[in-house]
Symmetry: D2
Subunit: 92 residues, 4 copies
Amino acid sequence: MIATAELQLIPLGEGVSVREKIGRVVDLLSDHDLIIETHAMGTNIEGKMIDILAAIGEIHAVLHSEGSTRLISYIKLETRTDKVPSLEAKRL
Amino acid sequence: MIATAELQLIPLGEGVSVREKIGRVVDLLSDHDLIIETHAMGTNIEGKMIDILAAIGEIHAVLHSEGSTRLISYIKLETRTDKVPSLEAKRL
Amino acid sequence: MIATAELQLIPLGEGVSVREKIGRVVDLLSDHDLIIETHAMGTNIEGKMIDILAAIGEIHAVLHSEGSTRLISYIKLETRTDKVPSLEAKRL
Amino acid sequence: MIATAELQLIPLGEGVSVREKIGRVVDLLSDHDLIIETHAMGTNIEGKMIDILAAIGEIHAVLHSEGSTRLISYIKLETRTDKVPSLEAKRL
């Protein structure tokens, strides 16, 4: 099942600027078979729902292994059966 | 105080497609002195925090007056004092 | 890795009241080895991160198989390495 | 117009534990004519929509004046016209 999603991951305890860590999140997402679109408030994602969920879990594991102590992901996950969803079709 | 924000408004009870209502939200935001950037999972906003909050309240009131029965807004609201925030600076 | 999370699932196109569907979400979560706590704006969850992510994917699949056309999940997912997180410890 | 809402405020750059700051948020909310219910993943709020929005803006201003550098609020805001919403009625 194809899903569209948004991910904003916030590392706590790594200072005020989290830009470097967000770049790492995008890098890790790019290793998966997913369409990703970054924007000012998060990263939009299109792909198989199970791949999106697996990628998010992997990102938490990898960032912790790289030294992050506390991570919060804010996720929107959308699925629909009346048509194949896509980020492109969802733009106004 | 300048804030950056994201708004995704979901109308309930108006069918599966909510595209028309989202267009109305963007129209209403455009009437305010705010920078807005639409994307597939919401609308990013930059402007005075009080203007953003007022605009969101107004949008709920207007959409209800236009017939919407139930509305849920998902909002991210960011402020910082170490620099003037902007959507442009937050892009990777 | 143990995570704490919040899930609010919104079905679109099923009318203004979504209480029955939310009850189904809680039922499906209850089938997993997870601690769940419902509240007015969502359901808090504690358990293995991979189990939480798998449960959310399963819920989308089951609700679609039961007739839902469009589903949006709003998820907060927290992990930390400095202690074992729990919903109980996170209460004020 | 009465609204129900959820607020989770995250301070960045204040270390891994943000419990003290969350307590301050609840204190500030308590100064308003709002019903509040804390839970493990945020604080649920019931009251006039304009009071809720004003309280959130005030909290950002006060926390910055008390030394916070960067704040992100995650807000769910619900309104409906078919009945007067309440946190109590929204519990399962």
